[in-house]
Structure formats: structure tokens, C-alpha cells
């Protein structure tokens, strides 16, 4: 019995070290443009969302890809989120562009083998249907096993009937950067997670159990800045 118990403990310990969580942990460090080395973080408590590529939608049929070129080193076993930033210029948001964007995101998911993707985008109101359909197609393409997260403007979260309610995603991360203290969002889907910029902390209202994404600003992450960010949140 004791041997079985010991074996079980050993197996559980091994599993906890090698198997990544099904859902992101409650603290995620965003790594955007900097050359980051995040191998020092505790993978059981903290995940990493790294910008994997920027996609630029332009004209009627163009989607230009700018993959990440600066390295980010992450310890094995850390929960990884491949972030895809999407911007646009004189874009028509056509079905062909939707197809290309979905294919590119799926490619990134395949290459990185990250358990989660996060789409960071801004959208004019006219592009809401485009993103709604895009996220639907992406869900079909990636299947239920890949966690799909999106970032959101605060204004999208300020109505209980937000357009976000139509999106097939696992998580919405509002980003009240530079906006000062905010009251809980009227749209319930926006309350589970929040993105904070280190330069703003702690001017936002946090709620218990919320997943927090930390944006470091233009600088690289360091042990000190990670610790300081977590301390700020505790307070």
C-alpha cells in the first residue's frame, strides 16, 4: 500500500512537471517585442503569452505576416499562449482575408504547439462580423482542445449586450491600460481576465480569481520586474 501510494505520488509529481495545464494559470506574462528570458518563472503558477506574429490586413485580398524575430526563452512545462496581433490598413475584411488569417493562426498553433492562442486586435464596428466569423472558423479549425483567448477594448466590455457575446472564445481579456480605476465590466464575459500594464499598476480594480496578464511596457522582463508586478497585484 505504501509502495503504491509512493508510486502514485511519484507519478503525480512527474505529471505535474511535464504536463501542461488545460487552462492558463492565473498569472500570465506577456512577452511582446523584447528579447526575453523567462526560464526563471515558476511554471506551475505563471504562464507566458508571447507575440508569435503580427498579421496585417490590407486592401481586398492581402494579409501580410510579420513573424516574431526576437527570442523568448521559456522553461519546459510552462503554459504557453501564442499571441497573434492583427492590424489593418484600408482593409475590406473579405472572406478571402478571413480564410488567410485563420490559416495563418492555425499554422502558428501547429508550429508552436502552444495549448492556447490569443488574438489581439482592434476592429472598427464594420469589421465585427468579420471577426465573429473568423473566430468561429478558427474554433472549427483548431478544435476544442486549443484554448482561444482574445484581448478586448474596454469600450467593448461596457455594455451587457456587447458584440463580444457572439464570439466563440474561451476567454476575453480587457485591457484598461492608462484608463485609471474601472468598475466591474457590465459585460460578464470580460470579468474573468484582465490585462494590466506595469506602468499603470495598480490603478485598476481586480476581483478574486481573475486571470491577470502583465504587460511589461517596452522593457524586458527581469526577476525584479516580475516580482514587483506580482507584489503590486497582491496589494
Amino acid at each position: 500500500m505504501t509502495r503504491i501510494f509512493r508510486l502514485t505520488i511519484l507519478l503525480l509529481t512527474a505529471a505535474s512537471l511535464s504536463v501542461v495545464l488545460a487552462e492558463p494559470p492565473h498569472r500570465i506574462l506577456w512577452s511582446w517585442f523584447a528579447d526575453d528570458d523567462l526560464r526563471f518563472i515558476n511554471p506551475r503558477e505563471t504562464g507566458v503569452g508571447y507575440l508569435a506574429a503580427s498579421l496585417h490586413i490590407e486592401g481586398r485580398d492581402r494579409v501580410l505576416s510579420h513573424p516574431r524575430t526576437s527570442p523568448v526563452r521559456i522553461a519546459r512545462g510552462t503554459y504557453e499562449i501564442a499571441v497573434i496581433h492583427i492590424d489593418y490598413h484600408r482593409a475590406s475584411f473579405t472572406p478571402e482575408q478571413r480564410r488567410l488569417v485563420v490559416a495563418m493562426i492555425a499554422e502558428i498553433a501547429g508550429l508552436t504547439r502552444a495549448p492556447a492562442v490569443q488574438i489581439d486586435f482592434d476592429a472598427p464596428q464594420s469589421a465585427y462580423p468579420f471577426y465573429r466569423d473568423l473566430l468561429r472558423d478558427l474554433r472549427q479549425r483548431l478544435g476544442a482542445r486549443i484554448f482561444i483567448s482574445i484581448t478586448a477594448l474596454v469600450s467593448w466590455c461596457e455594455s451587457p449586450h456587447s458584440w463580444l457575446s457572439t464570439l466563440q472564445v474561451d476567454e476575453i481579456v480587457p485591457m484598461p491600460f492608462h484608463l485609471g480605476r474601472v468598475t466591474p465590466f457590465l459585460f460578464p464575459g470580460c470579468r474573468g481576465s484582465i490585462g494590466v500594464s506595469l506602468r499603470d499598476a495598480p490603478v485598476f480594480m481586480l476581483t478574486r480569481g481573475q486571470r491577470i496578464y502583465f504587460f511589461p511596457g517596452p522593457q524586458r522582463w527581469s526577476r525584479q520586474s516580475v516580482q514587483a508586478a506580482f507584489e503590486e497585484v497582491k496589494q
Partner: protein
């Protein structure tokens, strides 16, 4: 290491291209460019093919390198021309020429046309070229575009040689697909050894393809062994390039921390020491440069100059141009001039561009030593009518054959020297002939330069005016120092057309400084000029005539015919029967026209319509020393037409008078206040006084202008307090910002 070099290259690319895209926050004014100064005529295909036009010392140095190659007989072969185009693509100017230089896209387009073998899937995120590195979660450029260029050329050759549906070609294509399948790093795909029955060329290709596939797959040791073997195989067409790729593989191994640094340097030096490998010398040296071995090395700078002057640079030219121009920029900022003497190309560029006496002496000395075309052009560019070797230079220029790349530059400077020596009639026909030559149609900048000479050869005023008119090659913004063709969005949004003939600076200099009022009046009354310029000529002559106290009645009549909206003020002038009355009427006319000034402005002369105040204070005129409008270089190279040589005294006398007259508000204010003194009942006076205050605000003013404005203001409010013009003139000011003044004006008018 690899990442570092990528970053350094990226930073260098930004630094050396960013000046094209840096745009000022200050107001932008449209300007007309009549001859490009930074680059040759567009598209640059003609220049890259050796049709150099008239070379300018102000051209970017890469163009002078290309020019030097043509002038010394090396020229550019087909591959070097491609390399030159790719270099300009790197400089983010590739789109100027509308030639496709996107080799991966070209490869994919060519590949897609072969439907008998399905084109392989290609990742879209990394454009098929970038490989994902799971260690760093980032993408690295694995297959550079040069790989696609070489593949495309081989594709075309093998298809033409064996046929698109041949077994040989299909075998080559299938293997090439396998090579490129490694580019995105997602799979390892090595083509199999070639079947024995395939042609020997395809088998040799396959050897290279297998080595390349290993290289892109990161199997560097295997790639190295295979490239070395091909390098030893004299029968392989890939023999020479494999020697270079061996070094390149060692470089990648160095980047990936494998112990290959010393081997890389040794291999590179072995290549450079082998005279049979000249075509890969440049790219090999570039590799050492990228490896940081040759940074700041003046011997390397010299080697690059020698390579860039030599034939057979082939696929190395692009990087040689990059490294050479980058090092040139570094050296020229340093205190040590010796790097500019250690190679003929460098010395030529330095002396061709410099404008000092030392450069002139060195150019002359080098021409006497070498009698080469590049140095003849350098010496000609510096020469003036006082140069002792002028006759020898002219003689040498006359012997440059018409099909020489240096012909137009030599002809231009020879004609310039002839003109400066007074031989105007002798070269007039020659200039007419060259300007009308259909072969110069792709070289509008050069044609405009020859037009400038033709203008100075004019025998009379009408001929001068006709040849002074030139169409710009570009309408752009003043901040566009790089003469980028599409600087701001759509050029069609410009309010000024490049199709309209205008005056360049050399023409306005002659008109403003060398031409007496008598001939300016003739210009205004004549019909040589196009409509837009004719009105400017009329207003210029009218203003200058008033300033010089000359008879301007004929000019006012002409203005009345050209500008019906001025009818009432023109009629008022006609009805005056005293000199004082006519002067007042003319001043009143000019006060209503802020575009009025006693001189011509080059290119786009003003950015605001006639009769409207310009927001940036380009209204009326400032105190006038017209010679200050032009710099000393313009003065040095200016050639006054022969018909004006007898007018010099009269023109200079008038310039002295103009200089004493002061700015518009003071000069016109004096006339108005003088007239108002004894014509209190004239209904035009209140408006004229208002106009004086207005011109002091929106025009040029100096320390005393406010006194004129105050006098006008006080008289207006004292004598005509209930007039509408007094109401529209609530204050006078010494000086406020132009924005505040415009705001004041708008609010007040409402």
C-alpha cells in the same frame, strides 16, 4: 552571432534607409524638381543598363559606383544588373522602377505554371522562407531570397534545355521542391540521389540540391562535406559557388556556436587568394565582413573598391555595394582622409563629389596621369572658363564617342565651358540637336540641364524665355530630400502639375538679377510665356516698375486684360491724370494682390491663389537684396546670355534702387499715406489704409514697419471712424504669430 548580425544588418538597413522616410513636422511646401540631384532619371533601368545621362556630383554614391564601372569599361553583366536592382530594393527604392525584384514570389509564380507536378504546400506565416525555432519561439530567415533567384534562373535554363515535360526537368523540379520544403523548418526533406539515367547536368544539379537541402535543414556537417566535394569536382557547374557555400556553411556553424570560426576565416582567405575564383571574391569578403572580421578595415574598403571596379562580380555586387557605401559613409565622417586615396574608384567618387580647389586639382592631375574617361569627367565637372587646361579638356571631351556612357556628361560640361567662354552661337545648334534627340526622351533630367545651357545661349529675350521654360521631372514636398517619386501618397493629389512648364532657379536668377526693367516689361507685354507665368510676369513687372518709378501704364492695361476681376482698380488707374494719382492707384492695386512682388520665384512660385493671403506669410515682398536669393555656387556657375551683357549696368543700377526701397508695407504705405494727405475725400483711402495695416501683418515686416501700420491705423480711425474699413481694422500690432493674426482676421470678418 547570427542573431546579432541580423540585428546589425537590420539596424544598418534602417539607418541607411530611414532618411527616405523621415518626414518633417513643419509645414510642407510643394516644390518642382527639374533635374534629379540624388538619383538618375526613373525608371533606373536605363541607368543600370549604362544609359547614364548627365552625371551629377550630388548623386548617391551607389549610382556613382555603377557609373564608374561603365566609364571604365567594366559595365554590369546581366547578373550584376539584377544585383544592382536588388540593392535598390534593399534601400527601399525598388518600387520606383516598377520592376519585380521579389524573387520568392517570382519563383512561386514560375513554379505554379508547372502543373504536371503539384506545387508543394508552403507555410504562410514565415512566407516559406522563415523557420520556426521552438527554443526561442521566434522565426529565423532560413532561405534568403537569393536562393530563389538562383533557383529561378536554373529552372528557366533547365526547362528551356530539356523541355517542361521532360523527365530531366521534372526530376530537377521535384528535387528543388524538396530543397525548399526545408526552409520553414517544419520538416526534413532531402532529395534522393539522382537516377543513373538522368543527364549529367541534372545529376550535378542533384548533388548541389542534396547539399543545399541539408544546409537548410540545419544538417551543417553533411552539407559541408557535400559542398566541399562539389567544390573539388571541376566538372560540376556548381563547382565555384560551392566553394563559397562551404564558407557560408562554416559561417552558419559559427552562428550556431559550432567551432568553425577559425575554419571560416581560413577558408575565406583561401578563396580570396585564388585568382580563378574572382567572381566569388566579393561575396566571400562580405561574409567575413558579416562575421565581424573586417569591420573598420581600410584594406577591406580598398578591396571592395577594387572588386566594384572589376568585371565578374556577378552575384556578389549587391553586398559589395552595401558594404562599400556603408564603409564610405563611416570613413567620410572620420578625420583620416587616407581611405579615399587608396583605390581609384574611391578617389574618383570623392573628387567628383567634392567642390573645393583640392578636388579640382586632384581631378585634373589624375586625368593627366590616366587620360581615363572617369577622370576626364571629374576634371570637366570642376573646370571653369579660367581653368588653364580648358582647351585640352575640350579637345578630350570632343573625342568621347557618342555611344560612350560618358558622352552626355562630357558634352554637357564642354558646352558649359564653351558658353562661359562666350561661344554662344557656336553651340546653339548642337544644344538644339541634343535637346530634340529622341534618344534622350528617357532622360528628362539631362534634357533640362541642356535646356539650361540653351537658355544661356539665347540671342534675344524671346528666345531666352522660350528656352528658359522647362517641365519638372517631379512635383514633391520640400522635405523630400531623397527625391522619392511617391513621397506622399498619391501624386495626383498635388495641386501643381508636372506637365506645366515653369522657370528653374537659373532662369529666375537671370530674370531677377541680370534683366533690366525695360526687358521685364517686354516680357510682361509679350506672349511668349504660358498663361500662368504671363500673369506672374505682368505682376512682377508692374511691382518692379512702381518700385523703380517707371511708366507702368502699358503693364496695367495688360493686367486688366489678363485679370478681369481687377477691372475696377485697373479702371481707376486709367482715370488718374497725375503721377501721384497713378502711383496711388498702382499701389492700391498691388495692396489687393498679396502675390505681387518685383521678382520671379522658381518652380511653384506661390502656394496660395492670386488675391488671397498666404497662411505662411508668402505675401508681397521683403526688403530686397535679390542677390541673396541665390547661393554662391549658383552665382559661380551662372552664365548670363549674350543679349544681356550690354544691360548689366542698367540692371545693377536698378538692383541698387530696389535694395533701398524696403518691404511692401513700408513702400506702399508711404505712397498711400502721401496720397491720403491731400485726397481725404477719395473713397478708396479707408480701404487702402486697412490694406496697409493688413500688409504689415501678413507680409514681411521689419523694425520700422509697425510705424507705418500705426500711422495708417490712426488715420483710418481718426478720419474715417465709421467706415466699414475702420470696423474691420480694430488694431495694429507690432508682431504676433501668423496663426493668431489669421484667427483674428477670421473672427473679425465674421
Amino acid at each position: 552571432m547570427r542573431r546579432t548580425s541580423t540585428i546589425v544588418f537590420g539596424a544598418a538597413l534602417f539607418l541607411f534607409t530611414s532618411w527616405w522616410i523621415v518626414r518633417a513636422c513643419a509645414p510642407e511646401f510643394e516644390v518642382a524638381v527639374f533635374s534629379y540631384k540624388r538619383h538618375p532619371d526613373l525608371p533606373r533601368a536605363g541607368f543600370v543598363n549604362g544609359n547614364l545621362g548627365v552625371l551629377q556630383p550630388t548623386f548617391a554614391r551607389s549610382y556613382l559606383v555603377i557609373a564608374y564601372r561603365y566609364l571604365n569599361g567594366a559595365g554590369l553583366n546581366q547578373r550584376e544588373r539584377e544585383q544592382a536592382r536588388d540593392y535598390y530594393k534593399d534601400r527601399e527604392t525598388g518600387t520606383w522602377d516598377h520592376v519585380g525584384t521579389d524573387w520568392p514570389a517570382k519563383w512561386q509564380a514560375a513554379r505554379a505554371r508547372i502543373t504536371s507536378v503539384a506545387a508543394p504546400h508552403q507555410t504562410q506565416v514565415g512566407n516559406g522562407q522563415q523557420a520556426y525555432d521552438p527554443e526561442t519561439h521566434s522565426f529565423l530567415l532560413n532561405c534568403a531570397e537569393d536562393a530563389y533567384r538562383v533557383a529561378l534562373h536554373t529552372f528557366e535554363d533547365r526547362r528551356n534545355r530539356f523541355g517542361a515535360s521532360s523527365r530531366a526537368f521534372i526530376a530537377w523540379l521535384t528535387a528543388q521542391d524538396a530543397v525548399f520544403a526545408n526552409c520553414d523548418g517544419s520538416q526534413l526533406t532531402i532529395p534522393p540521389e539522382a537516377a543513373a539515367g538522368l543527364p549529367s547536368l541534372i545529376r550535378a544539379d542533384r548533388e548541389y540540391q542534396i547539399a543545399a537541402a541539408n544546409f537548410y535543414a540545419g544538417k551543417y556537417q553533411t552539407a559541408l562535406d557535400r559542398f566541399e566535394r562539389i567544390g573539388r569536382d571541376a566538372s560540376s557547374p556548381w563547382n565555384m559557388i560551392s566553394r563559397y557555400v562551404v564558407a557560408r556553411t562554416l559561417f552558419r556553424m559559427t552562428e550556431s556556436s559550432a567551432p568553425a570560426g577559425a575554419g571560416l576565416q581560413r577558408e575565406c582567405m583561401r578563396i580570396v587568394a585564388d585568382a580563378k575564383l574572382v567572381p566569388i571574391h566579393g561575396m566571400t569578403l562580405n561574409l567575413l565582413h558579416r562575421a565581424g572580421v573586417l569591420e573598420q578595415d581600410s584594406a577591406y574598403f580598398r578591396s571592395l573598391a577594387i572588386l566594384l571596379s572589376s568585371r565578374g562580380q556577378d552575384d556578389g555586387l549587391r553586398e559589395e555595394l552595401w558594404n562599400y557605401t556603408t564603409m564610405y559613409d563611416k570613413f567620410i565622417e572620420g578625420p583620416d582622409p587616407s581611405p579615399f586615396r587608396n583605390a581609384d574608384l574611391t578617389s574618383w567618387i570623392y573628387n567628383f563629389q567634392a567642390r573645393d580647389a583640392g578636388a579640382e586639382a586632384q581631378s585634373m592631375s589624375r586625368w593627366k596621369q590616366t587620360h581615363s574617361t572617369p577622370w576626364l569627367l571629374a576634371a570637366l565637372t570642376h573646370a571653369t572658363s579660367r581653368t588653364p587646361e580648358r582647351a585640352d579638356l575640350l579637345n578630350a571631351a570632343a573625342h568621347i564617342p557618342r555611344d560612350s556612357p560618358g558622352y552626355l556628361t562630357a558634352l554637357y560640361h564642354a558646352d558649359r565651358l564653351q558658353l562661359a567662354a562666350g561661344n554662344r552661337a557656336g553651340i546653339r545648334d548642337s544644344l538644339e540637336s541634343i535637346i530634340g534627340d529622341p534618344a534622350l526622351r528617357p532622360l528628362p533630367s539631362s534634357v533640362n540641364l541642356f535646356r539650361g545651357l540653351r537658355m544661356s545661349a539665347a540671342p534675344n529675350l524671346a528666345d531666352f524665355l522660350r528656352s528658359a521654360l522647362r517641365k519638372p521631372v517631379l512635383i514633391t514636398y520640400s522635405s523630400n530630400v531623397g527625391e522619392v517619386p511617391a513621397y506622399f501618397a498619391d501624386p495626383k493629389t498635388s495641386q501643381n502639375s508636372a506637365a506645366v512648364a515653369r522657370f528653374d532657379r537659373d532662369a529666375t536668377r537671370i530674370l531677377n538679377i541680370r534683366t533690366p526693367f525695360r526687358l521685364l516689361k517686354e516680357t510682361a507685354l509679350g506672349d511668349v510665356l504660358p498663361v500662368g507665368l504671363r500673369r506672374e510676369a505682368v505682376m512682377t513687372a508692374l511691382t518692379r516698375g512702381l518700385l523703380l518709378d517707371q511708366d507702368i501704364s502699358g503693364i496695367v492695361e495688360k493686367l486688366g486684360a489678363a485679370a478681369p476681376e481687377l477691372k475696377s482698380r485697373v479702371d481707376a488707374y486709367r482715370h488718374e491724370d497725375t503721377d501721384q494719382g497713378r502711383r496711388f492707384a498702382a499701389a492700391f492695386l498691388i495692396l489687393g494682390q498679396p502675390e505681387a512682388r518685383p521678382f520671379f520665384a522658381p518652380g511653384i512660385s506661390r502656394h496660395t491663389r492670386s488675391g488671397k493671403i498666404d497662411s505662411f506669410r508668402d505675401n508681397w515682398w521683403c526688403p530686397l537684396d535679390l542677390t541673396e536669393l541665390y547661393d554662391s555656387h549658383e552665382a559661380a556657375v551662372a552664365i548670363t546670355p549674350g543679349f544681356l551683357t550690354g544691360e548689366a549696368e542698367e540692371a545693377e543700377k536698378e538692383l541698387r534702387v530696389l535694395k533701398r526701397r524696403g518691404n511692401a508695407a513700408d513702400f506702399l504705405g508711404f505712397i498711400v499715406l502721401d496720397y491720403a494727405g491731400n485726397h481725404a475725400d477719395d473713397p478708396r483711402i479707408p480701404e487702402a489704409l486697412h490694406d496697409i495695416v493688413r500688409s504689415s501683418r501678413y507680409g514681411c515686416n521689419d523694425d520700422n514697419t509697425w510705424k507705418t501700420a500705426r500711422r495708417a491705423f490712426q488715420l483710418l480711425h481718426k478720419r474715417y471712424p465709421k467706415s466699414v474699413w475702420a470696423g474691420r481694422t480694430p488694431s495694429w500690432t507690432k508682431e504676433t504669430s501668423i496663426r493668431e493674426q489669421m484667427k483674428w482676421e477670421r473672427e473679425h470678418q465674421q
